[in-house]
Amino acid sequence: NAGVTQTPKFRVLKTGQSMTLLCAQDMNHEYMYWYRQDPGMGLRLIHYSVGEGTTAKGEVPDGYNVSRLKKQNFLLGLESAAPSQTSVYFCASSHQGLATYNEQFFGPGTRLTVL
C-alpha cells in the first residue's frame, strides 16, 4: 500500500498563476482533508470531504477550491495564487468520523512558493 501520496512535491508559482495539487489514497478511506502548515501556526484545515462528491470548508478556505470526484482522490486548486499562500500543504485521510480507528494518515507534503 502506498498510503497517501501527493503530487507535486515542490512547486514555485508567480502571483496570479493557478495550479492543482493532487492527493491520492489507497486505503478506501471516506474522509479526506487538506491542511496548510506555516511556522508557528500549526496545521490549519483548508477544506475537507466526508465522501465522494462532497466537500466542506475548513478553518482557512479563502483562495482555495477542492473537488472529490473519485473516492480515492482529493484535489486542491489555487485559482489565482498569492504570496500569502506560500506554505507546506498536507493531505490526509481517515476512516469515517465515527469509526473506532479514525486516526489520520498524512501524505509527505507539497512545498509551494508563490513569488
Binding site: 500549526g42 479514525n102 489520520q104 507534503g109
Partner: protein, 111 residues
C-alpha cells in the same frame, strides 16, 4: 470555541533526560485525543489515540496519558532519534468530527 494548547513550544533535552509534553484542551465533549510525531520535511505520523480520562498507552519510550482537561506525552530516557515535533489533536463529539490540532512541541534530544 474548541481550543487545543500545547506546551512548551520547544524543549531541549539531553539524551536520557526524561520529560513530559503537555496538551490541554477546552472542548464541549471529547470523543478522542490523538498524538502524532512529525519529522522535518515529512507529514505527521500517528502515535496514539486516547478516548477516556485515565487511559494510558505506551510505545517504546513514549507514554500518553489523558485527564478530563489535558494529555501528557511522557518521554522516558529519550534518544536523539526521538527528536521531532509532537502534535496533539482533539476530536469533539457531534458536528463533523474533524480533529482540531495544537501547534505542536518541537523536541530536540542532544547526544
Amino acid at each position: 470555541e474548541d481550543q487545543v494548547t500545547q506546551s512548551p513550544e520547544a524543549l531541549r533535552l539531553q539524551e536520557g533526560e526524561s520529560s513530559s509534553l503537555n496538551c490541554s484542551y477546552t472542548v464541549s465533549g471529547l470523543r478522542g485525543l490523538f498524538w502524532y510525531r512529525q519529522d522535518p520535511g515529512k507529514g505527521p505520523e500517528f502515535l496514539f489515540t486516547l478516548y477516556s480520562a485515565g487511559e494510558e498507552k505506551e510505545k517504546e519510550r513514549l507514554k500518553a496519558t489523558l485527564t478530563k482537561k489535558e494529555s501528557f506525552l511522557h518521554i522516558t530516557a529519550p534518544k536523539p532519534e526521538d527528536s521531532a515535533t509532537y502534535l496533539c489533536a482533539v476530536q469533539v463529539i457531534g458536528g463533523s468530527y474533524i480533529p482540531t490540532f495544537g501547534r505542536g512541541t518541537s523536541l530536540i534530544v542532544h547526544p
